[in-house]
């Protein structure tokens, strides 16, 4: 359930129940939920780089020649 919520795969009702009710009653889930959110944030900020410009240009060039 927690995973579905994190991944946006839960229904609005499930999400509401989980976030508004379950988390208040269940400490392990509360902890885990915030842990996973933090990890997701870390992943997003620290694990994305991007394509070097010359690589992208090279590809565009190759396609031009392929036409």
């Amino acid at each position: 359930m927690l995973q579905s919520i994190l991944d946006g795969e839960a229904t609005p009702q499930q999400k509401e129940h989980f976030l508004k009710h379950h988390l208040e009653e269940c400490m392990p889930c509360y902890k885990n939920y915030h842990l996973e959110l933090k990890i997701k944030e870390l992943l997003k900020t620290k694990c994305t780089g991007g394509c070097p410009e010359e690589v992208a240009n090279n590809i565009k060039q190759q396609i031009k020649s392929a036409q």
Binding site: L2, Q3, D7, G8, E9, P28, K31, N32, H34, L35, E36, K38, I39, K40, L42, L43, K44, K46, C47, T48, G49, G50, C51, P52, V55, A56, N58, I59, K60, Q62, I63, A66, Q67
Partner: protein, 195 residues
């Protein structure tokens, strides 16, 4: 490898429009994925080029305006498996079947979690998360990238990876637990240094 969709017959101008308007915008995500898979910038570059060339060659199989990102990721993943994955380097050290039921249980979440605290994560300002991600087996690394970095839905991931949705869920669950275990190790080391 390419799905059987009704073939289009684009002229050169249309191909150009699709290629630059719908394919090229994803090049950063695609490069990141290629790099995480190959762990080598030269191989990543080659893999990326191969993929985009294939995408152009098979552009008639792509329905304009549909999910280009998923379509491209699928090509990249298949190209990686066929051409770049060093088979000798990957003896199956992971018995997916055997441990799946254990790692899917809610109990595992509770056992691993106590060791890792959000505060410890706040202190990870270096490469810990990147290293932790890299340390995962390709299949686990892949689902984390697709779900958390690229925000694909489960059904999109199922199509990209050619696996059932159930497997997407369980693999993701397992991958996240492995990631937490790794981060937990780093946190312990950091705590030890500070003692």
């Amino acid at each position: 490898m390419i799905e059987e969709t009704p073939r289009q017959h684009y002229n050169d101008k249309q191909k150009d429009t699709i290629f630059h308007g719908e394919f090229m915008p994803h090049i950063n995500s695609m490069y990141n994925f290629a790099y995480r898979l190959t762990m080598d910038s030269d191989d990543a570059k080659d893999l990326l080029q191969d993929t985009y060339l294939k995408a152009y060659r098979f552009i008639d199989s792509f329905q304009q305006g549909t999910n280009a990102k998923a379509w491209l990721f699928r090509i990249l993943k298949n190209s990686f498996i066929n051409d770049y994955r060093k088979k000798s380097k990957e003896p199956s050290k992971v018995d997916y079947q055997e441990v799946e039921s254990f790692y899917n249980s809610e109990d595992v979440d509770r056992q691993i979690t106590p060791d890792l605290r959000v505060e410890a994560l706040q202190d990870m300002i270096g490469d810990e998360i990147s290293d932790a991600l890299n340390s995962l087996d390709v299949d686990f690394k892949t689902v984390i990238i697709l779900a958390d970095l690229e925000e694909f839905k489960y059904d999109e991931m199922a199509k990209i990876l050619d696996i059932p949705i159930g497997t997407v869920r369980s693999r993701l669950h397992r991958a996240r637990n492995l990631l937490k275990e790794k981060l937990s190790e780093y946190a312990k080391k950091m705590g030890y240094k500070n003692a």
